[in-house]
């Protein structure tokens, strides 16, 4: 009686061009009049998406060898420091990396310039070895000259996120935007009922190996993201009420587009990268149908005071309230503003829907599911291992 579909059955339908695909917003609307069983029967795949600043992002680049070759032990890309501890000509350019002298142009901008095919100045130094005699190189690279460019983001697509306010008398400049004094504004960041991990809160369909839309092309979930936390409190709809699970994702940067990957600079904070991610959720059964039917008013999150160390919680609101433009926190009415792009997220969800409908994008069964009992450690300050020598 109760419906149970397999990944393969759904893929068969995708190949035949018969799969019924809805976006997570569309299925939430449908759920107002249809039961989870009916949805499981009618709908095969639900697309979810997000387009927000994700600081824990970066790219692996292989420059190829010069003649004579150099073992790069210090690397600058348009002046931005890139990691030098990866063999001779591999590097990892982190999205938030920057030269303190030029804080508004960072790793994310290098990544965007690479995608757009722009020339980048590469300068590298090495000590010179028998097999890598060269000590310095200054040259131009771009998308065409390098061997590989791989986007590898250790922590993306947060499952829910705090709302930020600032109770102090000064403006606070944060990754959640510019927070006006005395709680005169509140910012929020997820795409709510369209957000990937809010539609599959227990990650029954998303795991290692899941094929996703990443930055304009196909990518993969490769691991639970860093700070993956399954022990955050959940509300009665099964949704964690603050930031919890995350994803590590990978994809071919050469195929990506700056329409879905955008460098950003936050005043007095630093550089970050807007990343567009879309995740298809197969509606295998009524249980999953119920999860993807979640609506903004059922997704709650925690309001935190970014003016105070430790960002203490001040209250709880839902995404319908956040989207209305005003929330109430401790009796005070506060204007809200998003800091991630819902219009872009919708574009991604629609695009992914079309790709699946046309048979260009199939769903994948995870090779391995995520852990279900993780929590977060914080960094404790310990006395140094060896006591400092006296007299210097």
């Amino acid at each position: 009686m109760s419906i149970q579909k397999t990944y393969e059955e759904i893929n068969e339908k995708i190949r035949r061009g018969e799969a019924v695909v809805l976006t997570a917003e569309e299925v939430s609307q449908m759920a107002l009049t249809a039961s989870p069983e009916e949805i499981a029967e009618k709908v095969d795949v639900v697309t979810t998406a997000t387009f927000g600043a994700m600081c824990s992002s970066g790219a692996i680049v292989n420059f190829g060898h010069a003649n004579p070759p150099i073992r790069m032990e210090k690397i600058r890309l348009n002046g931005v420091p890139a990691y030098e501890g990866l063999a001779a000509v591999d590097t990892y350019i982190g999205a938030t990396a920057c030269d303190p002298e030029n804080p508004k142009y960072g790793g994310a901008h290098v990544i965007q310039d690479l995608i757009e095919g722009k020339d980048i100045e590469l300068e590298a130094w090495g000590k010179g070895t028998d097999c890598y005699p060269r000590k310095h190189i200054k040259t131009i690279i771009n998308k065409e000259t390098v061997n590989e460019m791989i986007l590898f983001n250790p922590r993306n697509a947060y499952q829910n996120y705090n709302v930020a306010v600032n109770s102090t008398a000064q403006m606070k400049y944060t990754y959640m935007g510019n927070l006006l004094p005395h709680m005169r504004n509140a910012t929020y960041s997820t795409s709510g009922e369209l957000s990937p991990l809010l539609n599959d809160p227990e990650m029954k369909t998303i795991g290692i190996g899941t094929r996703i839309f990443l930055g304009g092309t196909q990518g993969f979930v490769v691991w639970p993201g860093t700070q993956f936390n399954t022990s955050k409190p959940k509300n009665e709809h099964g949704v964690p009420v603050s930031n919890s699970a995350t994803l590590a994702v990978i994809g071919n940067l050469k195929e990506m587009s700056s329409e879905f990957l955008q460098a950003a600079y936050y005043e007095k904070y630093g550089v970050s990268l807007f990343v567009g991610i879309g995740i298809p959720i197969p509606v295998l059964n009524a249980d999953i149908a119920k999860c993807v039917s979640i609506r903004n008013e059922q997704i709650e999150t925690t309001v935190c005071d970014y003016g105070v160390p430790g960002t203490p919680a001040l209250g709880r609101v839902n995404y319908a309230q956040l989207r209305s433009g005003e929330i109430e926190v401790q009796g005070k009415k506060i204007r809200t503003a998003p800091v991630s792009s819902l219009s872009k997220a919708r574009k991604i969800a629609d695009l992914l829907k079309k790709l699946i409908q046309s048979g260009e994008f199939e769903i994948t069964k995870p090779i391995q599911m995520f852990p279900t009992n993780t929590s977060l450690k914080s960094l404790k300050e310990q006395p140094p291992l060896t006591p400092p020598k006296e007299g210097n």
Binding site: F51, A53, Y173, N178, L179, Q262, S272, F274, R335, V339
Partner: protein, 137 residues
């Protein structure tokens, strides 16, 4: 008679002084408040349209300046590079004049330059640096 737009910026301690009363009574200037952002104990700003004889306007403005209120003609405007906008919403968080708002249906940024008081808060708030101050009249 002349009609011109000005931006007034008040120092924090001036919140309670009846400037507009003096402008009207002492200098016979007609005032149209376009936008007001005055918070007690904080720098405030006001965009006004002042109408009066050229002499009276000069004297009224001199009076404001004597009282540490900066008064500049509103000859700058904010330009927005719409083509590159990703509609993230960061700028709407700081725009209290209501010039920058998210369209509640398609969630794209709408910029109504008529409402802009050129407070310039959106300039550093945009992570893509899409707002510029344009100084031409």
């Amino acid at each position: 008679m002349q009609k011109k737009r000005y931006v007034l910026k008040f120092p924090p301690q001036s919140g309670d002084q009846p400037f507009s009363y003096h402008l009207v009574k002492d200098f016979d200037i007609r005032i149209n408040i376009l936008r007001a952002e005055v918070w007690p104990g904080k720098t405030g700003s006001l965009v006004l349209e002042l109408e009066g004889t050229s002499d009276n306007l000069k004297q009224g403005i001199a009076y404001l300046k004597e009282n540490q209120v900066s008064c500049e003609p509103l000859n700058k405007k904010i330009t927005w590079n719409e083509k590159r906008c990703i509609s993230c919403g960061n700028c709407t968080a700081v725009c209290f004049a209501g010039a920058l708002q998210m369209d509640p249906v398609n969630w794209e940024l709408q910029f109504d330059s008529e409402k802009c008081i050129v407070c310039e808060l959106c300039v550093p708030a945009c992570p893509l640096n899409l707002f510029k101050i344009d100084f031409r009249e």
